[in-house]
């Protein structure tokens, strides 16, 4: 019996490290960056990455390796422990969040009742890391970027959490629990996006764009305004890790969108045995790519907003809409379902 337990433990460790854990998400993140760049280029009538690997597929990896080899400079006035640990924590947090995603089945590697709340906390913690990373080098552009990132957080955090909770509330109404697994299983026959959640999905897309700091919400790292915003002073290995963290976060948020609104891996788990895991993974990745392509179209078709306009927009439209959406999901939808089933 002991041997079996050890093997089970070993499998769990491998699952966390290789598939569908860290390695998988690192590769997925780099792949998603490639898709993002390639599709963005396509929308702009360009080619995008081309020479590294087939169709430039290895370009994000090449960028990562190149940055790893570059000189690593720490500014003299920086608070070194914070400055140096931010990239590591950013990557660790993104990877940790990714463990919750139901990649090869209705259940992630880590799954417990209430894990949705943990995810919301992790998303906020990532922004706090950005703030620390911007303040610690004691330089002017990062400081402005850090202030902007927190201001921006005030704008989009409530809509983001509300849209996540909206997806949860629906399943709770159906008798599920406040967990990713519950949300996924509740969408077995009927994806959330097809019902009341379409509005929630739109809000989620905009908020995710802000969380990822992409146009029109790339305000904290606005290139033409404040050089590279809070990442200005980062170089070498630290910048490489930050970029990797950003890629993993991109993959994670696309996956989260697919999980909450597009039914996650369903109908993959219907296939029995190992085939089910493979089919689920493929379906999950395809759904995430759909979310990614939507994000890329948003990025291509807008110009950067000003921070005051962003916060204005968020509080005038996004927050009321998300609260309305939440009410719809919590009160109206269960009531209607209740009436229909009567």
């Amino acid at each position: 019996m002991e041997g079996e337990a050890v093997i089970q433990e070993l499998i769990d460790v491998l699952r966390t490290l290789l598939f569908p854990g860290f390695l998988f998400f690192v590769i997925l993140g780099l792949f998603f960056e490639w898709i993002d760049r390639k599709f963005y280029a396509k929308l702009q009538n360009r080619v995008g990455p081309l020479y590294t690997g087939p169709w430039g597929l290895l370009q994000p990896l090449a960028d990562f390796v190149k940055l790893m080899a570059k000189e690593d400079i720490v500014p003299e006035g920086a608070i070194k422990p914070i400055f140096s640990s931010v990239p590591v924590f950013a990557l660790a947090l993104s990877l940790f969040a990714a463990l919750f995603l139901p990649v090869c089945g209705p259940q992630g590697i880590v799954s417990f009742p209430g894990d949705v709340i943990v995810l919301a906390v992790v998303l906020t913690l990532l922004v706090i890391l950005v703030f620390l990373g911007g303040l610690s080098p004691a330089s002017r552009y990062p400081e402005v970027g850090a202030e902007r990132s927190v201001l921006q957080l005030l704008g989009y955090e409530i809509p983001l959490v509300a849209s996540i909770l909206g997806a949860t509330a629906m399943t709770v109404g159906l008798g599920g629990s406040l967990s990713i697994e519950g949300i996924v299983n509740a969408q077995r026959d009927w994806w959330s996006i097809l019902g009341f959640q379409a509005l929630g999905f739109a809000i989620f897309l905009l908020a995710a764009q802000a969380e990822l700091e992409r146009v029109p919400f790339d305000i904290p790292e606005a290139e033409t305004e404040i050089v590279a915003g809070w990442t200005t002073e980062y170089s070498g290995k630290k910048l490489a890790l930050l970029r990797l963290a950003r890629d993993v976060e991109l993959a994670f948020l696309c996956g989260l969108g697919a999980t909450l609104f597009l039914g996650g891996p369903w109908p993959g788990p219907l296939v029995p045995g190992l085939g089910g895991a493979i089919v689920s993974t493929i379906i999950f990745v395809i759904k995430s790519i759909v979310v990614l392509l939507l994000l890329t179209v948003i990025r291509a078709a807008m110009s950067r907003l000003r921070i005051d306009q962003m916060v204005n927009f968020a509080w005038k439209y996004l927050v009321p809409l998300s609260i309305f959406q939440l009410l719809l999901a919590v009160v109206v939808a269960p009531l209607m379902i209740h009436l229909l089933t009567l």
């Binding site: 929308l43 702009q44 009538n45 360009r46 002017r140 552009y141 402005v144 202030e147 902007r148 146009v215 029109p216 790339d218 305000i219 606005a222 290139e223 033409t224 305004e225 404040i226 050089v227 291509a300 078709a301 807008m302 110009s303 950067r304 907003l305 000003r306 921070i307 005051d308 306009q309």
Partner: protein, 401 residues
Amino acid sequence: MSNIVDVPVGPQHPALKEPLNITCYVDGEQVVGAKLRIGYNHRGIEKAGEYQTFIQNLYIAERICGICGIVHAFDLAQATEHIIGKEIPRRADYLRTIGLELNRIHSHLLWLGVAAHEIGFDTLFMYVWRDREVVMDVIEDFTGNRVTYALVTIGGVRRDLPQEKAEKMLRVMDALEETVKKYKEMCLNEKTIRMRCDGVGVLRKEDAIALCAVGPTIRASGVPFDIRADDPHAAYDEIPFKVVTYDTCDVTARILVRIDETLESINIVREAIKKMPSGPIRARLPRAVPVGEGVGRTEAPRGEVIHYVRSNGTDRPFRWKVRAPTLANLLSIPVMLTSKGDYVVYIADVPITFASIDPCLSCTDRAVKFVDVSSGKSWVWTFSQIKRMYWKDKPCWRERP
């Protein structure tokens, strides 16, 4: 107002294509004041011009600015012809006009792309630059190169425009008109562009006049000031065109002025091709220019350009002075970047406000001033002092004849 921080934009900054320093005094996200510093790009072109013949100077003048290439060569040729005092063939005037207007079209489209990039709209930037390529191809077809045209020479132009090339040019102009109208529609209706540009970088009419702004900058403040109309040169006296003005005084007005001017330029090219008389394209003028001084002025895409040339009877100018339009427009930047009452400038507005005058600093930096930063003392170095300090051992410096 206690926490005022100075945020330097430049001399090295992604928003700037050329070195210049804008020190923004910032309170939170608001800019409460700005100070400009230029002179990072002084190349000594005017001095170099004194060692070269008038013909050679045409090609140096063309390299004062890469984007308005033909303008400076045309202006220098105009100034030189002013000294010589001979008329040039009419056909050459028309060909010069076509060159100037093609240059304006490409410059305005290039600027539209840069402006889109400054507000983070990279897709529009890519589209505009893609469509600008057709103008570049027409220019290459006409003059033999995409950027440095080498079209103008003293006494006329160097290349004729044969019938088939003119027809091809007209076809391209038709297609281009459609494209430019599409972009006008896009800039007027795109929500995020309007959010970033409306009411940003305001330069009121009286400020624009007081600060001697030129070109699209002053026309966007509602002043119809255009050298092509006020002092017609080349063939502008025979070609009717409208001086575009807008009076909202902000960045949107500057975008619209430039787009409308592009449409006007397309019409001018058409009209010029239609009205162009036949005849010779250049008059043979003497290489040695008689004693005297001449002035040439024209409307570059960015505003008025003035060239002053003084000759002492040799084939080289005694003095050559260039006033590029950006130098006139730079003065209005600190005004645009200062919050006053209801008018609030954010850090995010700095790049697009600065870009809205279409700055070209390599044209602008004509003079340098030596300042000892620690003591604040400034002085003038004479040429022989500089030579003694820096070119002591370098024989490459040719003595003035």
